[in-house]
Symmetry: C2
Amino acid sequence: MLSEKDVTYLKQVIALALEGVEEGAGGPFGCIIVKDGKIVGKGYNRVTSDNDPTAHAEVVAIRDACKQLGTYQLDGCTLYTSCEPCPMCLGAIYWARPERVLYAATRFAAADAGFDDDFIYKEINLKDSERKIPFIHYEDEDAQEAFEYWKRLEDRKRY
Amino acid sequence: MLSEKDVTYLKQVIALALEGVEEGAGGPFGCIIVKDGKIVGKGYNRVTSDNDPTAHAEVVAIRDACKQLGTYQLDGCTLYTSCEPCPMCLGAIYWARPERVLYAATRFAAADAGFDDDFIYKEINLKDSERKIPFIHYEDEDAQEAFEYWKRLEDRKRY
């Protein structure tokens, strides 16, 4: 299922993960996005250096690729990442819609290195009130108003 | 469990969601982050106007708050959002670690308006190979190298 090129890119994201740590950018994670045999986006984790908890390697690379390509959709792209995406990055991937995702280390290796990925995967399936960070639902009729407005918009740009 | 102030902020995020659509920024979602009775971050969805699939209201507000506060952690903050966070935003929230999350509309209302939130919640629990976007694990010993380097780092900045 993997081509030689796939393996080459996977080796590159593993090297990128190490590079990010060596440069003090953040955690040990790297990501590359390829379209038609060309790298269109890349990045490593920059959470602590950018003061941005969302600056995981995948999010940085997705934002980079979208900027390069001038779009918010990654049709026909392959995303290579040094580690199994955390729920935030998995969500970002689904919204960007690349064709496939290849990863090297697992969420369990990440957990062993002190990262919360596996913990967050477990929290997702808990009820609001059972979560470590409590989620509280406030029922408000007005909340539907923006959705109704959106649905009536003829030129709405879906994503 | 909700104070009058909580309800006031929830009304504000609902208004912000509508404002974003009216300005053509993106989907109908708004978010405000409050610390010690003060708004420290806010935003609405900017996916289509910024060409950034990660620019959901919560991510925009988290990045804004972290910039304002000069940190990557939202200790003691409350996050108010017009709609139940999607998996990407839920992940971003866990990495930012606010104290609690209050939301108005549900993921089902979002799905009814054409947003994939509920679909992504279901995909998360599927095996790699069963997902609509295939995830492929490549076993590589080198993948652990960056983690090992990280674990040995004495001055590593955890997040």
